[in-house]
């Protein structure tokens, strides 16, 4: 049975830890830093090549139930033949602590260029999916998601 003192200590520690993260979140440069990390990740994948909008369909719920687990699906229009197929699919975010979400390597054996998974989103933001084709061309799609905090959280952060 947690005593009142223990409860207050736990609550205090939890709010300290939350405050540490909150302080990090309050960093006036945080948004800019994360956007820069996103841009760098993008450059790492595409280099100087041009990325065109289209052929890729990125689907995310517009308003999510919980940012811990957001269903995401990507599909790319492609005949998936030896001569013309999707080689890789990358998913990136601009506001998560890290920009990379997942990278898929595939080929004609896949039959369809697709991925369905569940992702963590730290904040309301834009998610981007990029497809690398066998002919070297790059295509992308993006989706905006609204993320809100849960009302009833647990006492600790573990």
């Amino acid at each position: 049975m947690t005593t009142r003192r223990e409860f207050l200590v736990l609550a205090g520690a939890a709010s300290f830890a939350a405050a540490t993260e909150a302080r990090a979140q309050l960093d006036p440069n945080l948004a800019a830093k994360r956007k820069a990390a996103f841009e760098e990740a993008l450059r790492r994948i595409v280099g100087d090549a041009q990325v065109r909008r289209g052929r890729v369909k990125l689907q995310l719920p517009p308003l999510i139930d919980n940012g811990n687990s957001v269903p995401l699906s990507v599909s790319v229009e492609s005949p998936m033949t030896g001569a013309d197929h999707v080689k890789a699919i990358h998913v990136l975010t601009e506001k998560n602590p890290l920009p990379d979400v997942v990278s898929v390597a595939l080929g004609p054996r896949a039959g369809r260029a697709s991925l369905a998974t569940r992702v963590r989103l730290a904040d309301t933001q834009t998610v981007t999916a990029i497809a690398q084709m066998s002919d070297g061309s790059l295509w992308s799609d993006s989706a905006e998601v609204v993320v809100t905090l849960s009302a009833c959280l647990e006492e600790g952060l573990i």
Binding site: A14, T20, N68, S69, V101, R109, G111, A116, V119, L157
Partner: protein, 106 residues
């Protein structure tokens, strides 16, 4: 213990596109969370998922901390011949899980 689960058809016609859904039981600890006293909990995630079809790699995913806990990876592969599909999850701290599923192709 059910460390991973694969759902896919047991048989298909040659050339048919098989839908495969996989689930792995893993906390996917991001490395950004802190304990109640403020210490950082180290990253511990599944790093890579590989599907091979009679030994040939047909799909590979590199996962990052942004992938949710107990990851779902759903994808497709063409039913080319009868045999075995092998699924491998590899991650931090020596995490390695394998599952296999037979496929009969007519």
């Amino acid at each position: 213990m059910a460390r991973a689960v694969v759902t896919m058809p047991a048989q298909a016609k040659r050339g048919e596109v098989l839908e495969i859904k996989t689930l792995a039981q893993h906390a996917m600890e991001t490395g950004f969370r802190r304990t109640q006293t403020g210490e950082l909990i180290p990253r511990d995630i599944i790093r890579r998922f590989i599907c091979t079809y009679n030994g040939v790699e047909v799909y590979r995913a590199d996962l990052h901390p942004a992938i949710a806990a107990n990851p779902l990876i759903a994808f497709t592969t063409v039913a080319t011949e009868s045999g075995t599909l092998s699924f491998q999850w590899v991650g931090d701290n020596g995490y390695a899980v394998n599952e296999i599923a037979p496929i009969r192709v007519e």
